[in-house]
């Protein structure tokens, strides 16, 4: 069987940043496996700007951000294979991939970085009642068709879900000549960034219907209309609140899910984010397999993906060089009241750096709250937040010295400040 020191699954922002970080720590025998025909992943179709402010200190579009990373890969002559699909990862780090040139290949890796990104929830995931005509697609599909292939997916469009891609597509479709009739969001709040609400909806007078969902789809071969309804507090449509929209296309922006099947099948423990459970070095519960970027938890900023992947790539290099020791004692990290998930899911104090970093999302928009860290039942840190919203991932640091014991549980929770 062929061998590689480091195999990276995915050639998007996370995979490329991890490869560069591992190379810069001295690893040379690296292979990136990418299923698409280009490096860059989802950035290639994200032609809007707003990327790179943290990492490159300038505002870039998605393709520009990708090209910076691609240049770094090429300067270092890091090997990559395109049009190559990974079908299996085993517990002992055998990677099975296939492509048209080589057929099916098995490769023994010393370490693996999983960086396969996320996928979009589609119509099947929410089971909208009614017909099943053409003209219903995810926001990412509409984005790919328009931005890379040059096809406008419809002329009269309704959008379900106020995630950022949905808002960005509302603007893109409008600019290209489609009529966007509205955006329905089942939550009582928008799930997109303020910036996108203002610059994508308000700029073009596109209405947003909060606490509404599509309750029926009508159309024989092509979509003819959608019916939306207000929802109650259990998110069930309320009879009598229906509104009809004549449209030929329904674009869905209803959430992203880590594309973590390969690691699930390999037997890596799962985390609350629907990605793998990782420690502070982004190592999964399988020695030498690391996970980072959207396959671990869905990010809102690519800068954060690349920075996370840099840590994962360095950790993988340390593992290969024999410098990463996993101790037998660990601290579990748990999401408490009001918190959706926390990354990392566990901490090994013997290998952790001085500053521990916690990334998490709250469950709903909140004002005047504390983020409270309890270690074995005792409060060790409290951070006041005047405003915190689910659509912005929170990143907080804590000195490792606050943890006086190398075993136990940290619980992160949201507590309302008393008036």
């Amino acid at each position: 069987m062929k061998t590689k020191d480091l195999v990276i699954i995915g050639g998007g922002s996370a995979g490329m940043a991890a490869a560069v970080a591992a190379y810069d720590k001295g690893i040379r025998d690296i292979l990136i496996l990418e299923r698409n025909e280009f490096l860059g992943g989802i950035l290639n179709q994200c032609i809007h700007n707003g990327f790179g402010l943290t990492l490159f200190k300038e505002e870039l579009t998605g393709p520009e951000f990708a090209s910076r990373l691609i240049e770094q890969i090429k300067e270092r002559k890091i090997e990559y294979k395109l049009h190559t699909y990974v079908t299996n990862i085993s517990h002992d780090k055998v990677v099975t991939y296939s492509n048209a040139k080589e057929g099916v290949v098995e490769l023994q890796a010393k370490a693996i970085v999983m960086a396969a990104g996320c996928y979009e929830r589609n119509a099947g995931a929410i089971g909208i009642p009614g017909d099943r005509p053409a003209g219903i697609l995810t926001a990412g599909q509409a984005q790919l068709f328009l931005n890379e292939y040059g096809y406008l997916v419809g002329k009269r469009v309704f959008i379900l879900g106020s995630g950022d891609i949905g808002l960005i597509m509302a603007r893109r479709l409008t600019l290209e000549g489609a009529k966007v009739l509205g955006v329905a969001e089942i939550c009582a709040w928008s799930n997109g960034l303020n910036r996108n609400m203002v610059q994508c909806l308000y700029d073009y007078n596109i209405p947003l219907y909060l606490s509404h969902t599509v309750s029926k789809i009508v159309g024989k071969s092509r979509l003819e209309k959608v019916i939306i309804s207000k929802v109650d507090e259990r998110m069930q449509p309320i009879p009598g609140t229906e509104m009809e929209f004549d449209c030929d296309t329904l674009v869905l922006s209803i959430g992203l899910v880590p594309n973590n099947d390969l690691l699930n099948n390999a037997g890596a423990a799962k985390g609350r984010s629907r990605g793998a459970l990782v420690n502070e070095n982004f190592e999964t519960t399988i020695d030498g397999i690391f996970s980072c970027g959207n396959v671990l938890h869905v990010h809102d900023l690519v800068d954060n993906v690349a920075m996370e992947a840099t840590v994962a790539g360095r950790s993988a290099a340390d593992y290969i060089l024999g410098n990463l020791k996993r101790g037998d004692k660990k601290i579990a990290v748990q999401a408490g009241d009001g918190i959706g998930y926390v990354v990392p899911g566990e901490i090994d104090l013997s290998s952790a750096s001085e500053a521990l970093e916690f990334k998490f999302r709250v469950r709903k928009p909140s004002k005047n709250v504390y983020i409270v860290y309890k270690f074995n039942g005792e409060v060790v840190k409290k951070v006041f937040k005047p405003v915190i919203i689910p659509s912005e991932m929170e990143i907080q640091k804590m000195p490792k010295s606050l943890l006086k014991n190398d075993q136990g549980t940290i619980e992160v929770s949201l507590v309302q400040k008393e008036e």
Partner: protein
């Protein structure tokens, strides 16, 4: 006339009011005041889109206005972008449309696309 805006500088999303003398109220911090003034007196946006390209691996090449343009010119600029057809190769920063719609701003390529 008083204008109402939502500040985009941070997640707080202050509801701003800007009067005819460009006095801003409702802002929590100075960034909100600056945003409110700019947004009412001279709102600008960077436009990103894609143009048709021949002899490349894809049908479209992504582009952007190199600097923000006046908000009122967005649809004129889009029409100019839609009417543009370029040839590969093209590289990041190459001018695709010079001085688009008399704004003094160039539309530039945002992806390297080689000739095939």
């Amino acid at each position: 006339m008083e204008r109402e805006l939502i500040c985009i500088c941070c997640p707080r999303g202050c509801h701003l009011k800007v009067d005819e003398n460009l006095n801003v109220t409702g802002n929590f911090c100075p960034r909100g005041a600056a945003y409110g003034k700019q947004e009412v007196s001279n709102p600008t946006r960077v436009v990103t889109s894609s143009v048709r390209i021949s002899h490349a691996e894809l049908a479209m090449c992504p582009v952007k206005t190199k600097d923000p343009i006046p908000k009122g010119k967005i649809f004129d600029v889009m029409q100019s972008i839609i009417n543009t057809h370029i040839e590969a190769p093209v590289h990041i920063g190459d001018v695709v449309i010079a001085d688009v719609c008399g704004t003094g701003v160039d539309v530039v390529a945002t992806r390297n696309m080689e000739k095939i």
